[in-house]
Symmetry: C2
Subunit: 252 residues, 2 copies
Amino acid sequence: MKYALLIAYDGTAYGGWQIQHNAVTVQEKLTCSLEQVLGFKVNVTASGRTDSGVHAAAQVCCFEADCTVPPERMADALNVYLPDDIRVLQSAEAPKGFDAVTSAKKKTYCYRVYFSKRSNPLKDRYAVNIKFDIDIDKLNFIAKKFEGEHDFKAYCASGSQVKTTVRKIYSVEVKTRDFRGSRDVEIYVTGNGFLYNMVRTLAGTMLDFAAGRLGEQDIINSLEKGDRNSVGKTMPPQGLTLESVDYGIKLF
Amino acid sequence: MKYALLIAYDGTAYGGWQIQHNAVTVQEKLTCSLEQVLGFKVNVTASGRTDSGVHAAAQVCCFEADCTVPPERMADALNVYLPDDIRVLQSAEAPKGFDAVTSAKKKTYCYRVYFSKRSNPLKDRYAVNIKFDIDIDKLNFIAKKFEGEHDFKAYCASGSQVKTTVRKIYSVEVKTRDFRGSRDVEIYVTGNGFLYNMVRTLAGTMLDFAAGRLGEQDIINSLEKGDRNSVGKTMPPQGLTLESVDYGIKLF
């Protein structure tokens, strides 16, 4: 049977999703917990990798196993063995032919920042402190320029190997609120896929534009000519959360 | 000169505000950092103690020191030495006769919970997972019963020594939102002072009432007769945050 899992994790302590030699990862913790439940090792895949320190509110994973655990009970069985900062929220039988990576239609990431002269320990775990001022109207204006199909070559970390750097962005939404003495800004980006570091570089570019450090022509150059010098800095991982993965069907 | 500080801390790693033998505390970290800045030891007091694991978004502290650091620069000076989970947000010269404890007019605490069958690592740091269902209308209804001046003897942890258990509650507000697949509920309580564990027991009692485990007569008995058997359980510390302290004047 193929099982699908909806999982959430606080990425602070992990070297990202994918198993690697030099860091403890979410995939490793999940694989070990699955082995405890099943009694044998299986390969578990996720909708996509998240980088070191990046969080997930709703990552989707799947694995195939010849076992008798009812699909809806797999979540609680795994949670017995998982550390507190990784939880299976839902489990179900995956539809025929389901693949966590290739079946994904849309993903939504959120990048969170807050604006204040000094950092705030109650915000720092899931957002990044920005000390410079920005123009929220400019942030909203530039958000719309990224919507549509573009070549995001300039927003991709160098060294990554992908067939194409063209991605379709369905929406870029900015939400703001004043909370605990400073302004919180959330940038929600929904697309059909994302390049390595793309959302973090997109957030950095949008913030630099809203701070007046980049002009509209820079953004146009970055999208039309793939000009790396026209983009802002790649923002730190703790501000980024994978919010949802849409498969066009109800999984859980 | 007397200095006033506005500080925020993530209480997860601390045994509360007050210095003690068996745990690392916020007051200890602040006292050590002050000694680094000043070159000598001073006594720093806060508006009130927070318990082990409780957070503060805006705790107010003060201390007296014969030194040349300009009041508005004390915040950055202290932040050099403080750990990341404690930050001075603002610093200023305290008004004549100011006392962080006795000058406080109102304090606001917030207790946060979220309702879902399984816990969520992205919510667990500052809120408590509740697995049973409640009636939000009943929660709003009972909130109002606590407003006004009452003897909160039944809501005070046994063994605490205070002159009077009468406190005035200015408001109890319930805020809800659906976020990341579960309902978040915040209970804001503003009063002229709070007994040991009072807000956590108040939150537990309100939730038990809204779940149908306590009746209206229980709440009346708890307030009118001080009946300890009529109150709910004391909720865990991580859901509680000291949100603000009001001195009736602008300090920062």
